[in-house]
Amino acid sequence: MKEIIVPANPDNIAIVTEYINAELEAAGCSEHDRVQIDVAVDEVFGNIAKYAYGQEEGTATVRVDVSGDPSAVSITFIDQGIPYNPLENKAPDTTLKAKDRRIGGLGVFITKRIMSDVNYEYIDESNQLTIRKVIG
């Protein structure tokens, strides 16, 4: 298990993605799965960067673990921001016409659809969101 700690800022999405992609490449992850994981990472880290700390600054810890048979990658995002479980959000209505559509909630919706599992816990005054994808 490896981890990186970065300021929770959208500018750091690229750094986090590259860090994770290095682990995925070492694990022989397919391009399709790698891109899906990159999208989920963008959604989760992006939400932390935009909302977790409000107007304050904070950090996010990103832990990556590739293990199991078949292989699965688990990525845990940890922040000490406002306690918040994004999985409790109501799913957006994806059948609405363009003029009635909103983007809010779409990131979590996409993440749930393209990952094998998504879990949330509040532990030690930290939000911990884990996304997991079977890649082997």
Partner: protein
């Protein structure tokens, strides 16, 4: 991000490069806004875009809504399989013209 803009009459073709994600999409939206002035057809060419997250979908939706309001048209072209998958699962294939 690198973004190419081409105008042909009232048709604007926008060709971004890279990823349309949380970090890059605001810049695309900001730079597109003045270029869209007076345009009746917008073509967004995603040939050089690896993937789109909800941030990118926000831009597509915003442009679509604006075009519908003024009776214009948005077309998204050269969508790879990764982007097509995201458009499909979010229902965007039903509201955005993708060719």
């Amino acid at each position: 991000m690198d973004i190419d803009f081409k105008k042909d009459g009232t048709t604007l073709t926008v060709t971004p490069e890279g990823r349309l994600d949380t970090a890059t999409s605001p810049e695309l939206e900001k730079r597109m806004t003045p270029e869209m002035e007076g345009m009746t057809e917008i073509i967004i060419d995603l040939a050089n875009v690896e993937y789109v997250s909800s941030g990118g979908l926000r831009v597509l939706l915003s442009v679509e809504q604006e075009m519908e309001e003024c009776g214009g048209k948005l077309t998204v072209i050269h969508v790879n399989s990764h982007i097509m998958e995201i458009l499909d699962i979010t229902g965007f294939l039903d509201i955005i013209n993708v060719e």
